[in-house]
């Protein structure tokens, strides 16, 4: 209660000529920064957001440029998705309460030289901005935002039921590495083949997005993602010890010297309906740099300003962990 008024008075001072306050909603619940080994994964289900008042509230926190982009989308469902995606990013980052001046509206964003979006802290910090990284992904039915500290992150979500217009093996031959094509072609059940294809796709997308250099700078054909049995360690999901003892690794096909062992992955199945892949740099706290701490993952479902829910167990099943 008190923190809401505190936040309200700050933003009132700065933005009172622009803002319309809806005092009936609750404030964003603040959250502690992730540790270096952690990934915070936030997601929103558009079908659960129906209130026009709430959508208006979200629209209100966007920048003019973002609003334009939202309204440029064709059709109401796409407008809504685009709106929720930007609202999710702004509200999520603002929760980390790094600086009391930060509100969802005051955040500024920019793109790195390859076009990857990142937070522009110059509004709030002269130097030493917090090394908070984020990445978003959306499907029509689920929008997600991953957050890490001090590590680039890439995420990708896809509906489990998603089909491809092109033949899966033709598509894989065109875009995936020979190793991956091979691993798909030995699957005889078309449904399982389709699911394995989607898992590979999301993992490859997450990797490229984590690299932050764009699709053309890291062609899908030039790296292989595969699963192997883990020798030690496993993924920790808060409150859930259901993890498979295997890991996901990436290898560079064209240049064996390309460093790939510093990346770690996680693959989740969310609410039984979506695959979500996460890729971030491994955090190594050993002196020789030969260690690697297992990824700690916290999954939260949210409707910003309304409710947050920590997800564990069968609603966020870890399919394959990472070391």
């Amino acid at each position: 209660m008190f923190s809401f008024l505190h936040m309200a008075s700050f933003t009132m001072k700065i933005h009172c000529f622009q803002r319309n306050f809806s005092f009936s909603s609750s404030a964003l619940v603040p959250v502690q920064l992730p540790s270096r080994m952690e990934t915070h994964f936030w997601y929103i289900l558009p079908d659960e957001v129906k209130s026009a008042t709430l959508l208006n509230q979200y629209l209100d926190i966007l920048s003019p440029c973002e609003k334009e982009n939202v309204l440029r989308m064709h059709g109401d469902n796409l407008k809504k998705s685009a709106l929720l995606a930007r609202a999710l990013v702004r509200t999520t980052i603002a929760r980390y309460q790094i600086n009391s001046q930060v509100s969802p509206t005051s955040l500024k964003f920019r793109k790195n030289i390859y076009g990857k979006p990142e937070v522009d802290w110059q509004n709030h910090y002269d130097r030493n901005p917090p090394p908070l990284h984020f990445n978003i992904s959306h499907t029509s039915s689920l929008i997600a935002c991953g957050v890490t500290l001090d590590s680039p992150i890439g995420i990708d979500v896809e509906e489990k039921q998603r089909t491809t217009k092109n033949n899966i093996l033709s598509f894989a031959r065109r875009y995936f590495s020979p190793h991956e094509v091979e691993s798909l072609s030995v699957i005889s059940d078309p449904e399982i083949q389709r699911q394995e294809f989607l898992k590979l796709w999301t993992l490859k997308e997450a990797y490229v997005k984590a690299l932050g250099r764009g699709f053309s700078a890291a062609p899908f054909k030039n790296f292989t993602i595969r699963f192997r049995a883990a020798t030690k360690g496993h993924l920790h999901l808060s409150g859930n010890s259901n993890s498979k003892a295997s890991e996901i690794i990436v290898e560079s096909s064209d240049d064996p010297k390309t460093l790939t062992s510093n990346w770690q992955f996680a693959l989740l199945e969310l609410t039984g309906s979506h695959y979500a892949a996460i890729c971030k740099e491994k955090y190594d706290d050993t002196v020789e740099g030969k260690g690697g701490v297992p990824m700690k993952l916290t999954v939260r479902k949210t409707i910003p300003f309304v409710e947050d829910q920590c997800i564990s167990g069968k609603d966020a099943l870890v399919l394959v962990g990472g070391l």
């Binding site: 009172c16 000529f17 622009q18 803002r19 319309n20 306050f21 809806s22 005092f23 129906k50 026009a52 008042t53 959508l55 208006n56 629209l59 209100d60 003019p64 609003k67 334009e68 309204l71 440029r72 989308m73 064709h74 059709g75 109401d76 469902n77 796409l78 407008k79 809504k80 709106l83 959306h138 499907t139 029509s140 990708d156 896809e158 998603r162 491809t164 217009k165 092109n166 033709s170 598509f171 065109r174 875009y175 796709w201 997308e205 764009g214 699709f215 053309s216 062609p219 054909k221």
Partner: protein, 139 residues
């Protein structure tokens, strides 16, 4: 506590409109939001740049539109202009890559990875296709 802002009246009236039109629970009320915004002086969205497209043939553009509509499962009557951005039509990364692959098969061309990122609209796709088809015929 009352909300004190110069624009609160505009928001208030558009909110009222939204509440009364929200019967089915669908997000059709977002249409009202669009109107509200332009009423309050928000920049108009009819920002189509005047573009003289003398490169790609109309048949090529038409074919690209067909492929895009099919990939994104758009209704046949949906309006697609050469300037339509794939992302604005709801294409995600997998859709875009599938569209590129369908175009390669349809036109017998090969799109380099570097170029596929530059294909964001129907027009850009059509222009690139014509360029590659011409290169093929010259080879």
């Amino acid at each position: 506590m009352a909300a004190v802002s110069a624009t609160s009246v505009t928001f208030g009236s558009s909110l009222k409109l939204l509440k009364s039109s929200q019967i089915t629970g669908k997000a059709s009320s977002l249409k009202m939001v669009t109107v509200g915004w332009t009423k309050s002086g928000f920049p108009s969205l009819r920002t189509s740049r005047f573009r003289v497209s003398c490169s790609a043939k109309p048949e090529t553009v038409q074919k690209v539109c067909e492929i895009v509509k099919k990939q994104l499962a758009l209704p046949a009557e949906s309006e697609l202009t050469p300037e339509s951005k794939f992302a604005a039509l709801g294409a995600d990364s997998l859709d875009t890559v599938e569209i590129v692959m369908s175009l390669e098969e349809e036109f017998g061309i090969s799109v380099e990875e570097e170029s596929s990122q530059n294909i964001t609209t129907v027009q850009e796709a059509a222009d690139l296709i014509e360029k590659l088809v011409q290169k093929n015929s010259e080879a």
